[in-house]
């Protein structure tokens, strides 16, 4: 089974987010970048599938050279090879088109994305790739079993779950549930050593125009100071929620 895991390279969840003085971009100073947490679940799922069915795991990122440590980490966790498409990930459409071109030129049985990148919170790329390639797509995928050429994929839907049966190849936008947190693989010494010699292929991009532009970033307005209410006086809380916050 040939599996492609799409990896985005994002600020660590504990990062303090600041923007450049002109407000045009994220200020990367002091920010540590990691494998997008949703993609970590996908990568571990790919390893489980490979262990059960055999095959190869390729990880891919659309990004500049700064994302290579993230791809190397994915190799250390257990992917067999990595591909970096050397383009600025301008917007989701440009990323999706680059991924589509790569997928068309190679044959994958399964394409695993994360539900969302925690940087720009797009939730766009996987559904776009699926639509461009007319492939079955399970978003918010929390369960996946593969039998021969068919997949059973469970998606979170509002208020519950839905399970789909699809023929491979298919695409998922995965999240926790695909594998459990405790099963997430982390790199060990042997993995780190072997990652150095695993192939990391550099692909030059097609020239693709995006359809959106980020104009400006700002931080949300700071909260006013918290109002404390005595534990013995919950009636006061009810009053404030009703009269002041108009929340009940």
């Amino acid at each position: 089974m040939n599996i492609l895991v799409c990896i985005s390279h994002v600020p660590d969840t504990t990062a303090k987010i600041n923007f450049t003085a002109d407000g045009k971009a994220l200020d990367p100073n002091g920010v540590q970048f990691v494998i997008n947490p949703y993609d970590e679940f996908g990568l571990t799922k790919a390893l489980h599938l490979k262990e059960a069915h055999g095959g190869t795991i390729t990880v891919i990122n659309v990004g500049l050279a700064e994302t290579e440590p993230t791809l190397r980490k994915a190799l250390a966790i257990g992917a067999d090879k990595a591909v970096r498409i050397n383009a600025i990930p301008e917007d989701a459409i440009t990323v999706a088109k680059e991924l589509k071109n790569h997928i068309k030129a190679n044959s994958y049985d399964l394409i695993i994305c994360g539900q969302e990148s925690i940087d720009y919170n797009g939730q766009q790329v996987p559904a776009m790739v699926a639509a461009m390639l007319k492939l079955p797509f399970s978003n918010a995928c929390v369960g996946l079993t593969i039998n021969d050429n068919t997949a059973l994929a469970t998606s979170e839907i509002d208020g519950g779950h839905a399970t789909f049966q699809a023929n491979l190849p298919m695409i998922i936008g995965g999240k926790k549930g695909l594998v459990e947190e405790k099963d997430l693989r982390i790199p060990n010494m042997r993995g780190i050593m072997s990652a150095r010699t695993k192939p990391l292929e550099l692909v030059e991009p097609s020239i693709i125009d995006g359809t959106t532009n980020a104009l400006h970033f700002e931080k949300p307005a700071p909260k006013a100071a918290v109002k404390m209410v005595e534990a013995g006086n919950v009636e006061e809380l009810v009053r404030l929620l009703h009269e002041e916050a108009k929340a009940i």
């Binding site: 940087d119 919170n121 797509f137 918290v226 404390m228 809380l237 916050a245 929340a247």
Partner: protein, 312 residues
């Protein structure tokens, strides 16, 4: 020309987010001096949509999956100025798939009406609510997917036309099973959320949390470790790596307020925190706080709310 809005049905009626989407479309259409076409499932009575701004309701037999519906909408977009989709679970597949099929330019996670229409600019949440991005949609078909509850619903009458049409869309896969908890408020569009963390100490203690949620008509949620240890289902996990919520009221009980938790809930309009530890970081993100033991405070709060509801 027109603004097309996708209207999701739910149990024979519409989702609240669908009315919000329709009224979003109407306000956008008014800025452009054009009409709203609401596309909906043929099995649902459309009349309610007209009071939220639908000028024309187009009833089609909806495909069963987001991919199929996106293809259907795509065939209806040849003469359209823009599309609105609510950011529900289904909408989160439809909007990007439609953008890919029709070379659209898409803003997801949108939290404002259009700030301008030539070019179209909107604000959207980024960096898990740690940032707000202003984005310009400069492709052929602008598509806006907004965060449910972030815009609000306005009643604006639209013209009362309705028609039906046949449009096909390929689902590409088959649904084999659907499990939806009936009667429960769905988290992403809940007006109020009661959420509890490891401070509750055992899954047996959730009775009072559910009671509080019942009084408020709220959805229940939890912190990540609580779902990781299996006290509550994964579908209740909120935060940066869980469901993101922005209700009017978020009550956090026995949750410390780690940065990853706050990232998914800080967009809530009013935040109440109950915690035994006065130094809990959550108080810094709260509007109202009580330092106290949940096991004493919550039953009293339930009583006080019942009394308040009975009196009003």
């Amino acid at each position: 020309m027109s603004v097309l809005v996708f209207v999701e049905d739910w149990n024979g009626s519409f989702k609240k987010a669908s009315f919000e989407a329709t009224s979003y479309a109407k306000r956008w259409a008014n800025m452009m001096d054009t009409q709203v076409i609401a596309v909906t499932n043929n099995s649902v009575s459309s009349s309610a949509l007209h009071s939220y701004g639908a000028d024309h309701v187009l009833q089609i037999i909806l495909a069963k999956t987001g991919m199929g519906i996106a293809e259907q909408l795509g065939t209806l977009c040849s003469d359209v100025d823009g599309v609105v989709v609510a950011g529900t679970a289904l909408g989160k597949t439809i909007a990007p798939a439609l953008a890919a099929l029709n070379n659209g330019s898409l803003s997801t996670n949108t939290i404002s009406l259009p700030l301008s229409i030539a070019p179209i600019e909107v604000k959207r949440g980024a960096f898990s609510s740690k940032g707000i991005e202003t984005i310009v949609l400069n492709g052929e078909l602008p598509i806006i997917s907004f965060v449910p509850n972030s815009i609000g619903i306005e009643e604006i009458a639209g013209n009362g036309e309705t028609s039906a049409k046949d449009v096909s869309g390929d689902d590409l896969m088959e649904i084999t099973e659907v499990n939806v908890a009936s009667g429960k408020v769905a988290l992403p569009e809940a007006d109020a959320v009661v959420s509890a963390g490891r401070g509750l100490k055992s899954p047996d203690n959730w009775g009072m949390i559910e009671e509080l949620a019942n009084v408020l008509g709220a959805a229940t949620a939890c912190s990540k470790p609580v779902s990781d240890i299996g006290w509550r289902p994964h579908s209740e996990h909120v935060g940066q790596t869980g469901i993101q919520v922005n209700p009017n009221l978020y009550i956090a009980i026995g949750i410390s307020g780690a940065i990853q938790h706050l990232a998914g809930v800080s967009a809530s309009k009013t935040i109440v925190v109950v915690n035994t530890d006065p130094e809990a970081p959550f108080f810094k993100a709260a509007d109202y706080g009580i330092v106290g033991d949940a096991f004493e405070v919550i039953p009293k709060l339930v009583d006080a709310l019942r009394a308040f509801k009975a009196a009003s």
